[in-house]
């Protein structure tokens, strides 16, 4: 038994007008101070005002939201008792909204207990809407919640299928102002989720479609969105790609690029998309060297993306080269060194990086699962920018 979950996706020009159809009395908006400052909550609250829906804003979400912030949000939502929780922002705000609505239903729980082990039934109280302002994590179409335990500097992969949002609103006005750096960081997450979801051992025909399309859209449109933020077509297509990447990856599972990238991000606080995008080509090479079946899947993607033709191995390798070229074009780091991480500090953390990467579910669902030794080598090669040859 397995399932494919997905919200109602409202998308395209004027998608925010969907809010005029929403029924409810009180909405609790989960966002960050920057989103409020940029005026991105206003089009939402204007619509709510027009419908006479009361609202309250919780704007304390930080990048990589901590357990403490979620606790605070849980207390605030408990006092307000809304019938909608609306996450507005990037992955951090959307994940925080998921955690907060779970705490609305189960206020006695600690945030680290927001997992598949518990029943929440939060829809008896409120429904969940997500409005992304970045095109990246696809959190609007996934049930994953990533929080940070600041005590031991660790990212916690939480969530439960129940917390798949009810509605995701993809309105291009929300992403038009995204700065180039965030466009690039989050865009690399899209392609990583799409490709890893496609090759995941949990992947099926149900998840392959959105993965393929999201990969092609990213290759076609991410450079355009990066170079010209006002390119409406590129912004829209990247927004759709992000949601499809989320649909693919969260209904199958992510892979080794996420397992290793999460480990790096947890310790060195590099943005999620940048880390997973950085490790994607290295981990793809590792898969190619160890699995003909996965190589064939990369080749399918490459052919669909019009990257090349030829043997499976040639296609797969050209896809890797294409991803490195994409990263270069949008000025993303190609090695850990490029991230500005000090070599001595990095080397000291390698045992910890290995331990973290080994214990990510995402590592276990990759089609070739490395042991500690191979992981150590992958981390070293990625620092130096050396292609994986084992």
């Amino acid at each position: 038994m397995w399932n494919f979950a997905c919200p109602l996706i409202v998308y395209g020009d004027n998608a925010l007008d969907y809010l005029a159809q929403v029924k409810g009395k009180k909405a609790f908006l989960v966002t960050d101070k920057n989103i409020v400052k940029l005026g991105l909550t206003k089009p939402v609250t204007d619509q709510l005002d027009a419908k006479n829906i009361k609202w309250q804003i919780f704007d304390e979400v930080e990048p990589e939201p901590s357990l403490e912030t979620i606790k605070k949000g849980g207390i605030a939502v408990g006092k307000y008792q809304p019938d909608w929780v609306i996450g507005i922002g990037g992955g951090s705000c959307m994940d925080a909204a998921k955690a907060i609505i779970l705490l609305l239903a189960r206020p006695e729980l600690e945030p680290e207990a927001l997992s598949v082990l518990e029943e929440f039934n939060f829809r008896e109280k409120a429904r969940l809407m997500e409005i992304p302002t970045t095109s990246g994590t696809g959190s609007e179409a996934s049930w994953a919640i990533v929080l940070t335990d600041t005590k031991d500097n660790r990212k916690l992969g939480l969530g439960t299928p129940e917390v798949m949002p009810d509605v995701a609103i993809l309105d291009p006005v929300m992403v038009m102002g995204m700065p180039p750096q965030i466009t690039a960081d989050s865009g690399m997450d899209v392609i990583c989720q799409a490709i890893e979801g496609y090759i995941s051992t949990w992947g099926t025909s149900m998840t392959a479609g959105p993965g393929l399309i999201a990969t092609r859209l990213t290759l076609d449109y991410l450079p355009r969105a990066y170079k010209n933020g006002n390119d409406l077509e590129a912004r829209k297509e990247m927004m759709y790609a992000a949601t499809m990447g989320g649909m693919c990856g969260s209904n199958s599972m992510f892979g080794l690029g996420h397992g290793t990238g999460h480990a790096l991000g947890g310790i060195f606080h590099v943005p999620h998309g940048r880390t997973v995008g950085l490790f994607l080509p290295y981990t793809m090479e590792y898969m190619i060297n160890g699995s003909e079946e996965t190589t064939a899947k990369f080749a399918e993607i490459a052919r669909y993306c019009r990257v090349t033709s030829g043997s499976d191995k040639e296609c797969a390798k050209l896809l890797v080269a294409k991803i490195r070229a994409l990263a270069k074009e949008i000025r993303q780091p190609l090695s850990v060194k490029d991230c500005g991480i000090d070599k001595a500090k990095y080397e000291k953390e390698i045992p910890s990086l290995i331990d973290r990467a080994l214990n990510e579910v995402m590592t276990m669902t990759a089609p070739r699962v490395p042991g500690a030794e191979d992981l150590g080598k992958i981390f070293n090669y990625a620092y130096a920018g050396k292609s994986i040859d084992f």
Partner: protein, 135 residues
């Protein structure tokens, strides 16, 4: 061949775990015991309890328990016979079983999640036990 849910099976399973370098490596800091509970259904008429004590990469005890009050383990993992069989033969991923509520875990989830690799190696050990299934 050992019959599933027999003490003989438990002894073989314990031996496989203690032979596994991969398990030992990935669980070297793990401390925690379990009841693996088989819910009645199919060939299993009564709820069956297997107690397993895992400590620092080794299995200290694995036994069939008739009185569930005998131990008070930190974790319990419960599923039907059919689901256990699918997990033990790697036809069903144990995490997928949890997500779809085909199995039920109690205990500190955050702790378990830090030992994903060890959990995988435990399943690999099950595969090595020559098992006579009950159906």
């Amino acid at each position: 061949m050992a019959k599933y849910l027999s003490q003989e099976w438990c002894d073989l399973y314990k031996a496989e775990i203690n032979k596994s370098a991969a398990y030992e490596e990935s669980a070297k800091t793990w401390e925690g015991d379990f009841y693996f509970i088989t819910e009645p259904g199919g060939p299993v008429k009564e709820k069956a309890y297997m107690y397993i004590d895992l400590y620092h990469g080794k299995c200290r005890a694995c036994e069939i328990v008739t009185d569930p009050n005998k131990y008070n383990p930190a974790f319990t993992l419960a599923a039907t016979y059919a689901i256990w069989k699918q997990i033990a033969t790697k036809k069903l991923d144990s995490t997928k079983a949890l997500i779809t509520k085909q199995s039920k875990l109690t205990g500190d989830m955050a702790k378990i999640m830090r030992y994903t690799k060890a959990a995988n190696e435990l399943t690999n050990c099950t595969m090595l036990v020559p098992t006579e299934w009950l159906d």
